[in-house]
Protein backbone atom coordinates (compact mmCIF):
# COMPACT_ATOMS: atom_id res chain seq x y z
CA UNK A 1 0.00 0.00 0.00
CA UNK A 2 2.79 2.37 0.88
CA UNK A 3 4.58 1.48 -2.38
CA UNK A 4 1.36 2.00 -4.31
CA UNK A 5 0.86 5.37 -2.66
CA UNK A 6 4.41 6.37 -3.55
CA UNK A 7 3.85 5.42 -7.18
CA UNK A 8 0.57 7.31 -7.23
CA UNK A 9 2.27 10.34 -5.72
CA UNK A 10 5.06 10.08 -8.27
CA UNK A 11 2.54 9.90 -11.12
CA UNK A 12 0.65 12.84 -9.67
CA UNK A 13 3.86 14.87 -9.55
CA UNK A 14 4.74 13.86 -13.13
CA UNK A 15 1.56 15.39 -14.54
CA UNK A 16 0.82 18.81 -13.08
CA UNK A 17 -2.72 20.12 -12.96
CA UNK A 18 -2.99 23.82 -13.75
CA UNK A 19 -6.00 25.61 -12.30
CA UNK A 20 -5.45 29.26 -13.20
CA UNK A 21 -4.05 31.52 -15.90
CA UNK A 22 -1.49 32.92 -13.46
CA UNK A 23 -0.26 29.44 -12.55
CA UNK A 24 0.05 28.62 -16.25
CA UNK A 25 2.09 31.76 -17.01
CA UNK A 26 4.40 31.00 -14.07
CA UNK A 27 4.88 27.46 -15.35
CA UNK A 28 5.75 28.76 -18.82
CA UNK A 29 8.50 30.95 -17.34
CA UNK A 30 9.69 28.22 -14.99
CA UNK A 31 9.96 25.53 -17.69
CA UNK A 32 11.65 27.66 -20.32
CA UNK A 33 14.61 25.27 -20.60
CA UNK A 34 12.58 22.13 -21.30
CA UNK A 35 9.64 20.93 -23.37
CA UNK A 36 6.24 21.65 -21.86
CA UNK A 37 3.22 19.64 -23.04
CA UNK A 38 -0.22 20.96 -22.11
CA UNK A 39 -3.35 18.82 -22.33
CA UNK A 40 -6.52 20.89 -22.62
CA UNK A 41 -9.14 18.46 -21.34
CA UNK A 42 -12.63 18.07 -19.92
CA UNK A 43 -13.71 15.48 -17.33
CA UNK A 44 -16.89 14.72 -19.29
CA UNK A 45 -15.00 13.59 -22.41
CA UNK A 46 -13.91 9.92 -22.28
CA UNK A 47 -11.09 10.43 -24.81
CA UNK A 48 -9.58 13.05 -22.51
CA UNK A 49 -9.47 10.61 -19.60
CA UNK A 50 -7.72 8.11 -21.86
CA UNK A 51 -5.27 10.73 -23.07
CA UNK A 52 -4.47 11.69 -19.48
CA UNK A 53 -3.42 8.07 -18.98
CA UNK A 54 -1.33 8.20 -22.15
CA UNK A 55 0.30 11.38 -20.91
CA UNK A 56 1.07 9.81 -17.52
CA UNK A 57 2.88 7.00 -19.33
CA UNK A 58 4.80 9.48 -21.47
CA UNK A 59 5.78 11.38 -18.33
CA UNK A 60 7.47 8.24 -16.99
CA UNK A 61 9.38 7.76 -20.24
CA UNK A 62 10.41 11.42 -20.50
CA UNK A 63 11.30 12.67 -17.00
CA UNK A 64 12.80 15.88 -18.39
CA UNK A 65 9.57 16.85 -20.15
CA UNK A 66 6.90 18.72 -18.19
CA UNK A 67 3.39 17.41 -18.69
CA UNK A 68 0.46 19.59 -17.67
CA UNK A 69 -3.25 19.11 -17.79
CA UNK A 70 -5.54 22.10 -17.86
CA UNK A 71 -9.32 21.85 -17.70
CA UNK A 72 -10.25 23.92 -20.75
CA UNK A 73 -13.53 25.25 -19.40
CA UNK A 74 -12.12 26.01 -15.95
CA UNK A 75 -9.41 28.34 -17.29
CA UNK A 76 -11.10 30.15 -20.19
CA UNK A 77 -8.45 32.90 -20.42
CA UNK A 78 -5.81 30.37 -21.45
CA UNK A 79 -8.16 28.33 -23.66
CA UNK A 80 -9.29 31.40 -25.55
CA UNK A 81 -5.78 32.78 -25.88
CA UNK A 82 -4.66 29.62 -27.66
CA UNK A 83 -7.93 29.16 -29.60
CA UNK A 84 -8.86 25.85 -28.00
CA UNK A 85 -12.14 24.93 -29.70
CA UNK A 86 -12.33 21.24 -28.83
CA UNK A 87 -10.95 18.74 -26.34
CA UNK A 88 -8.58 17.04 -26.18
CA UNK A 89 -6.07 19.49 -27.61
CA UNK A 90 -2.35 19.38 -26.87
CA UNK A 91 0.03 22.34 -27.08
CA UNK A 92 3.83 22.07 -27.05
CA UNK A 93 5.96 24.89 -25.61
CA UNK A 94 9.69 25.62 -25.66
CA UNK A 95 11.33 28.80 -24.35
CA UNK A 96 7.84 29.98 -23.38
CA UNK A 97 6.84 29.85 -27.06
CA UNK A 98 4.24 27.55 -28.61
CA UNK A 99 6.06 25.27 -31.06
CA UNK A 100 3.46 22.65 -31.95
CA UNK A 101 -0.14 21.62 -31.57
CA UNK A 102 -2.17 18.40 -31.74
CA UNK A 103 -5.95 18.47 -31.96
CA UNK A 104 -7.74 15.29 -31.03
CA UNK A 105 -7.11 12.03 -29.21
CA UNK A 106 -4.26 10.58 -31.29
CA UNK A 107 -2.04 8.69 -28.84
CA UNK A 108 0.51 7.56 -31.49
CA UNK A 109 0.75 11.10 -32.86
CA UNK A 110 1.19 12.55 -29.37
CA UNK A 111 3.95 10.04 -28.63
CA UNK A 112 5.64 10.82 -31.94
CA UNK A 113 5.48 14.57 -31.39
CA UNK A 114 6.91 14.32 -27.86
CA UNK A 115 9.76 12.13 -29.13
CA UNK A 116 10.47 14.50 -32.01
CA UNK A 117 10.60 17.59 -29.83
CA UNK A 118 12.70 15.87 -27.20
CA UNK A 119 15.26 14.75 -29.79
CA UNK A 120 15.16 18.06 -31.65
CA UNK A 121 15.85 19.77 -28.33
CA UNK A 122 19.29 18.16 -28.33
CA UNK A 123 20.35 20.42 -31.22
CA UNK A 124 22.78 23.12 -30.10
CA UNK A 125 21.47 26.66 -30.81
CA UNK A 126 24.07 27.18 -33.53
CA UNK A 127 22.21 24.78 -35.82
CA UNK A 128 19.14 26.99 -36.02
CA UNK A 129 19.99 27.98 -39.59
CA UNK A 130 20.38 24.32 -40.52
CA UNK A 131 17.00 23.51 -39.00
CA UNK A 132 15.45 26.37 -40.93
CA UNK A 133 16.96 25.09 -44.19
CA UNK A 134 15.53 21.62 -43.49
CA UNK A 135 12.11 23.13 -42.86
CA UNK A 136 12.25 25.17 -46.07
CA UNK A 137 13.19 22.07 -48.05
CA UNK A 138 10.30 20.22 -46.48
CA UNK A 139 7.89 23.05 -47.25
CA UNK A 140 9.09 23.15 -50.84
CA UNK A 141 8.45 19.41 -51.15
CA UNK A 142 5.01 19.78 -49.59
CA UNK A 143 3.91 22.64 -51.83
CA UNK A 144 5.07 20.60 -54.84
CA UNK A 145 3.56 17.34 -53.55
CA UNK A 146 0.78 17.51 -56.15
CA UNK A 147 0.08 19.73 -59.18
CA UNK A 148 -2.51 21.45 -57.01
CA UNK A 149 -2.01 21.51 -53.23
CA UNK A 150 -4.43 22.92 -50.67
CA UNK A 151 -3.24 23.68 -47.15
CA UNK A 152 -6.35 23.74 -45.04
CA UNK A 153 -7.84 23.15 -41.60
CA UNK A 154 -9.02 19.54 -41.53
CA UNK A 155 -9.59 17.46 -44.66
CA UNK A 156 -11.82 17.93 -47.74
CA UNK A 157 -14.19 15.36 -46.22
CA UNK A 158 -14.13 17.02 -42.80
CA UNK A 159 -13.17 20.70 -43.10
CA UNK A 160 -12.67 22.26 -39.69
CA UNK A 161 -13.28 25.90 -40.46
CA UNK A 162 -15.71 27.79 -42.67
CA UNK A 163 -13.08 29.23 -45.00
CA UNK A 164 -11.49 25.83 -45.67
CA UNK A 165 -14.97 24.42 -46.27
CA UNK A 166 -15.82 27.11 -48.84
CA UNK A 167 -12.48 26.59 -50.58
CA UNK A 168 -13.11 22.85 -50.95
CA UNK A 169 -16.64 23.49 -52.23
CA UNK A 170 -15.34 25.81 -54.95
CA UNK A 171 -12.62 23.37 -56.01
CA UNK A 172 -15.09 20.48 -56.17
CA UNK A 173 -17.65 22.53 -58.09
CA UNK A 174 -15.02 23.26 -60.73
CA UNK A 175 -13.88 19.63 -60.82
CA UNK A 176 -10.37 20.65 -59.86
CA UNK A 177 -7.99 17.84 -59.01
CA UNK A 178 -6.12 18.63 -55.80
CA UNK A 179 -4.41 17.10 -52.79
CA UNK A 180 -4.56 18.61 -49.34
CA UNK A 181 -2.56 18.99 -46.15
CA UNK A 182 -4.20 19.37 -42.75
CA UNK A 183 -2.26 22.16 -41.01
CA UNK A 184 -3.70 21.03 -37.68
CA UNK A 185 -1.56 17.92 -38.03
CA UNK A 186 1.74 19.82 -37.98
CA UNK A 187 2.30 23.12 -36.18
CA UNK A 188 5.79 23.46 -37.68
CA UNK A 189 4.33 23.45 -41.20
CA UNK A 190 1.42 25.62 -40.11
CA UNK A 191 3.71 28.38 -38.85
CA UNK A 192 6.58 27.78 -41.28
CA UNK A 193 4.49 28.07 -44.42
CA UNK A 194 3.24 31.52 -43.41
CA UNK A 195 6.84 32.75 -43.46
CA UNK A 196 7.86 30.67 -46.48
CA UNK A 197 5.07 32.13 -48.61
CA UNK A 198 4.63 35.44 -46.82
CA UNK A 199 0.93 34.68 -46.44
CA UNK A 200 -0.50 34.88 -42.92
CA UNK A 201 -3.71 32.84 -43.12
CA UNK A 202 -5.26 29.54 -44.22
CA UNK A 203 -6.49 28.04 -46.50
CA UNK A 204 -3.66 28.49 -49.00
CA UNK A 205 -3.81 27.09 -52.54
CA UNK A 206 -0.69 26.21 -54.55
CA UNK A 207 -0.46 25.28 -58.23
CA UNK A 208 2.84 23.86 -59.51
CA UNK A 209 4.33 24.83 -56.17
CA UNK A 210 3.39 28.51 -56.55
CA UNK A 211 1.07 30.20 -54.08
CA UNK A 212 -2.14 31.30 -55.81
CA UNK A 213 -3.68 32.72 -52.66
CA UNK A 214 -6.40 32.25 -50.08
CA UNK A 215 -10.17 32.03 -50.25
CA UNK A 216 -10.75 35.62 -51.34
CA UNK A 217 -8.39 35.32 -54.29
CA UNK A 218 -9.90 31.99 -55.36
CA UNK A 219 -13.35 33.58 -55.24
CA UNK A 220 -12.15 36.42 -57.46
CA UNK A 221 -10.56 34.00 -59.92
CA UNK A 222 -13.83 32.08 -59.99
CA UNK A 223 -15.82 35.25 -60.64
CA UNK A 224 -13.48 36.29 -63.45
CA UNK A 225 -13.59 32.74 -64.88
CA UNK A 226 -9.82 32.36 -64.62
CA UNK A 227 -9.90 29.58 -62.05
CA UNK A 228 -10.43 26.78 -64.56
CA UNK A 229 -7.43 27.80 -66.65
CA UNK A 230 -5.12 28.03 -63.65
CA UNK A 231 -5.96 24.80 -61.84
CA UNK A 232 -5.64 21.24 -63.16
CA UNK A 233 -8.90 19.45 -63.84
CA UNK A 234 -9.80 16.04 -62.55
CA UNK A 235 -10.14 13.57 -65.42
CA UNK A 236 -13.73 12.95 -66.44
CA UNK A 237 -15.27 10.08 -64.54
CA UNK A 238 -15.83 7.99 -67.65
CA UNK A 239 -12.16 8.32 -68.65
CA UNK A 240 -11.18 7.43 -65.11
CA UNK A 241 -13.36 4.33 -65.17
CA UNK A 242 -11.93 3.28 -68.52
CA UNK A 243 -8.43 3.56 -67.08
CA UNK A 244 -9.43 1.66 -63.94
CA UNK A 245 -11.14 -1.22 -65.74
CA UNK A 246 -8.01 -1.60 -67.88
CA UNK A 247 -5.58 -1.26 -64.97
CA UNK A 248 -4.85 -4.98 -65.21
CA UNK A 249 -5.79 -7.67 -67.73
CA UNK A 250 -8.09 -9.15 -65.11
CA UNK A 251 -9.61 -6.53 -62.85
CA UNK A 252 -12.03 -7.21 -59.98
CA UNK A 253 -14.12 -4.46 -58.41
CA UNK A 254 -15.15 -5.74 -55.03
CA UNK A 255 -15.94 -4.90 -51.42
CA UNK A 256 -12.62 -5.12 -49.60
CA UNK A 257 -9.39 -6.47 -51.06
CA UNK A 258 -7.53 -9.74 -51.61
CA UNK A 259 -6.48 -9.91 -47.97
CA UNK A 260 -9.91 -9.12 -46.57
CA UNK A 261 -13.16 -9.41 -48.53
CA UNK A 262 -15.96 -7.48 -46.86
CA UNK A 263 -18.96 -9.33 -48.24
CA UNK A 264 -19.80 -12.95 -48.97
CA UNK A 265 -20.06 -12.54 -52.74
CA UNK A 266 -16.71 -10.76 -53.00
CA UNK A 267 -15.14 -13.48 -50.88
CA UNK A 268 -16.54 -16.26 -53.09
CA UNK A 269 -15.35 -14.66 -56.30
CA UNK A 270 -11.87 -14.21 -54.80
CA UNK A 271 -11.75 -17.92 -54.04
CA UNK A 272 -12.74 -18.79 -57.60
CA UNK A 273 -10.17 -16.43 -59.13
CA UNK A 274 -7.44 -17.65 -56.79
CA UNK A 275 -8.18 -21.24 -57.80
CA UNK A 276 -7.56 -20.39 -61.46
CA UNK A 277 -4.03 -19.20 -60.78
CA UNK A 278 -4.55 -16.25 -63.13
CA UNK A 279 -3.01 -12.94 -62.06
CA UNK A 280 -5.52 -10.21 -61.27
CA UNK A 281 -5.88 -6.94 -59.42
CA UNK A 282 -8.66 -5.62 -57.22
CA UNK A 283 -10.28 -2.28 -56.51
CA UNK A 284 -12.14 -1.68 -53.25
CA UNK A 285 -15.36 0.16 -54.17
CA UNK A 286 -16.02 0.83 -50.49
CA UNK A 287 -13.13 3.30 -50.66
CA UNK A 288 -14.50 5.30 -53.57
CA UNK A 289 -18.18 6.12 -53.80
CA UNK A 290 -17.70 7.87 -57.14
CA UNK A 291 -16.31 4.72 -58.72
CA UNK A 292 -18.88 2.57 -56.93
CA UNK A 293 -21.80 4.50 -58.40
CA UNK A 294 -20.14 5.44 -61.68
CA UNK A 295 -19.27 1.90 -62.67
CA UNK A 296 -22.89 0.78 -62.32
CA UNK A 297 -23.85 3.21 -65.07
CA UNK A 298 -20.65 2.76 -67.09
CA UNK A 299 -21.25 -0.98 -67.35
CA UNK A 300 -25.01 -1.12 -66.89
CA UNK A 301 -24.51 -3.52 -64.00
CA UNK A 302 -26.14 -2.71 -60.66
CA UNK A 303 -24.26 -4.90 -58.21
CA UNK A 304 -20.80 -5.90 -56.93
CA UNK A 305 -18.47 -7.71 -57.34
CA UNK A 306 -17.82 -6.93 -61.01
CA UNK A 307 -15.14 -8.73 -63.01
CA UNK A 308 -13.46 -7.20 -66.07
CA UNK A 309 -11.12 -8.80 -68.58
CA UNK A 310 -9.19 -6.39 -70.81
CA UNK A 311 -11.64 -3.64 -69.93
CA UNK A 312 -14.78 -5.62 -70.78
CA UNK A 313 -17.31 -6.60 -68.15
CA UNK A 314 -17.55 -10.36 -67.63
CA UNK A 315 -20.21 -10.12 -64.94
CA UNK A 316 -20.77 -10.78 -61.26
CA UNK A 317 -20.38 -13.83 -59.05
CA UNK A 318 -23.25 -15.81 -60.57
CA UNK A 319 -21.86 -15.50 -64.08
CA UNK A 320 -18.33 -16.33 -62.96
CA UNK A 321 -19.67 -19.43 -61.21
CA UNK A 322 -21.52 -20.58 -64.32
CA UNK A 323 -18.50 -19.96 -66.51
CA UNK A 324 -16.39 -22.00 -64.14
CA UNK A 325 -18.91 -24.86 -64.12
CA UNK A 326 -18.98 -24.83 -67.93
CA UNK A 327 -15.19 -24.82 -68.16
CA UNK A 328 -15.25 -21.45 -69.93
CA UNK A 329 -13.77 -19.29 -67.19
CA UNK A 330 -10.05 -19.90 -67.75
CA UNK A 331 -10.11 -19.17 -71.52
CA UNK A 332 -12.00 -15.95 -70.81
CA UNK A 333 -9.56 -14.86 -68.11
CA UNK A 334 -6.63 -15.55 -70.43
CA UNK A 335 -8.27 -13.50 -73.16
CA UNK A 336 -8.61 -16.41 -75.57
CA UNK A 337 -11.95 -15.31 -77.02
Amino acid sequence: MAAGAAEAAEAAVAVVEVGSARQFEELLRLKTKSLLVVHFWAPWAPQCVQMNDVMAELAKEHPHVSFVKLEAEAVPEVSEKYEISSVPTFLFFKNSQKVDRLDGAHAPELTKKVQRHVSSGSFPPSTNEHVKEDLNLRLKKLTHAAPCMLFMKGTPQEPRCGFSKQMVEILHKHNIQFSSFDIFSDEEVRQGLKTYSNWPTYPQLYVSGELIGGLDIIKELEASEELDTICPKAPKLEERLKVLTNKASVMLFMKGNKQEAKCGFSKQILEILNSTGVEYETFDILEDEEVRQGLKTFSNWPTYPQLYVRGDLVGGLDIVKELKDNGELLPILKGEN
Binding site: W301, P302, T303, G315, I319
Partner: protein, 86 residues
Amino acid sequence: MELSADYLREKLRQDLEAEHVEVEDTTLNRCATSFRVLVVSAKFEGKPLLQRHRLVNECLAEELPHIHAFEQKTLTPEQWTRQRQE
Protein backbone atom coordinates in the same frame (compact mmCIF):
# COMPACT_ATOMS: atom_id res chain seq x y z
CA MET B 1 -41.40 -0.64 -52.14
CA GLU B 2 -42.75 -4.17 -52.16
CA LEU B 3 -40.07 -6.80 -51.76
CA SER B 4 -41.68 -10.19 -51.50
CA ALA B 5 -40.89 -13.43 -53.27
CA ASP B 6 -44.38 -13.49 -54.81
CA TYR B 7 -44.09 -9.93 -56.10
CA LEU B 8 -40.68 -10.55 -57.66
CA ARG B 9 -41.82 -13.84 -59.16
CA GLU B 10 -44.82 -12.28 -60.86
CA LYS B 11 -42.83 -9.32 -62.16
CA LEU B 12 -40.14 -11.56 -63.65
CA ARG B 13 -42.74 -13.91 -65.14
CA GLN B 14 -44.60 -11.11 -66.89
CA ASP B 15 -41.74 -8.87 -68.03
CA LEU B 16 -39.56 -11.69 -69.30
CA GLU B 17 -42.44 -13.85 -70.57
CA ALA B 18 -40.96 -16.61 -68.48
CA GLU B 19 -42.40 -20.09 -68.55
CA HIS B 20 -40.95 -20.83 -65.13
CA VAL B 21 -39.73 -18.67 -62.25
CA GLU B 22 -38.47 -19.64 -58.83
CA VAL B 23 -37.79 -16.99 -56.19
CA GLU B 24 -36.21 -17.95 -52.91
CA ASP B 25 -36.04 -15.44 -50.08
CA THR B 26 -32.58 -16.04 -48.61
CA THR B 27 -32.77 -13.21 -46.11
CA LEU B 28 -32.59 -15.57 -43.14
CA ASN B 29 -29.15 -16.75 -44.25
CA ARG B 30 -27.86 -13.17 -44.23
CA CYS B 31 -28.41 -10.04 -42.24
CA ALA B 32 -30.21 -8.02 -44.94
CA THR B 33 -32.82 -8.52 -47.66
CA SER B 34 -31.60 -11.24 -50.02
CA PHE B 35 -33.11 -13.22 -52.88
CA ARG B 36 -32.08 -16.00 -55.22
CA VAL B 37 -33.97 -16.30 -58.51
CA LEU B 38 -34.19 -18.86 -61.29
CA VAL B 39 -35.74 -17.63 -64.54
CA VAL B 40 -36.60 -19.79 -67.56
CA SER B 41 -37.45 -17.79 -70.68
CA ALA B 42 -37.16 -18.01 -74.45
CA LYS B 43 -35.95 -14.41 -74.31
CA PHE B 44 -32.58 -15.78 -73.22
CA GLU B 45 -32.07 -17.79 -76.41
CA GLY B 46 -28.97 -16.85 -78.38
CA LYS B 47 -27.82 -14.47 -75.63
CA PRO B 48 -24.59 -14.72 -73.66
CA LEU B 49 -24.80 -14.85 -69.88
CA LEU B 50 -24.03 -11.17 -69.43
CA GLN B 51 -26.98 -10.10 -71.57
CA ARG B 52 -29.29 -12.56 -69.84
CA HIS B 53 -28.39 -11.24 -66.41
CA ARG B 54 -28.84 -7.70 -67.71
CA LEU B 55 -32.40 -8.53 -68.77
CA VAL B 56 -33.15 -9.68 -65.23
CA ASN B 57 -31.35 -6.66 -63.74
CA GLU B 58 -33.38 -4.31 -65.94
CA CYS B 59 -36.63 -6.03 -64.99
CA LEU B 60 -35.85 -5.46 -61.31
CA ALA B 61 -34.11 -2.10 -61.72
CA GLU B 62 -36.30 -0.44 -59.11
CA GLU B 63 -35.97 -3.25 -56.59
CA LEU B 64 -32.27 -4.11 -56.80
CA PRO B 65 -31.05 -1.01 -54.94
CA HIS B 66 -33.03 -2.25 -51.95
CA ILE B 67 -31.82 -5.83 -52.13
CA HIS B 68 -28.58 -6.45 -50.30
CA ALA B 69 -27.62 -9.75 -51.91
CA PHE B 70 -29.11 -10.92 -55.20
CA GLU B 71 -28.31 -14.22 -56.90
CA GLN B 72 -29.67 -15.39 -60.24
CA LYS B 73 -29.62 -18.21 -62.73
CA THR B 74 -31.00 -17.76 -66.25
CA LEU B 75 -31.96 -20.68 -68.49
CA THR B 76 -33.58 -21.12 -71.88
CA PRO B 77 -36.52 -23.55 -71.97
CA GLU B 78 -34.25 -26.07 -73.71
CA GLN B 79 -31.63 -25.77 -70.96
CA TRP B 80 -34.34 -26.09 -68.35
CA THR B 81 -35.75 -29.23 -69.95
CA ARG B 82 -32.28 -30.76 -70.25
CA GLN B 83 -31.45 -29.89 -66.66
CA ARG B 84 -34.61 -31.51 -65.32
CA GLN B 85 -33.90 -34.67 -67.28
CA GLU B 86 -30.51 -35.08 -65.60
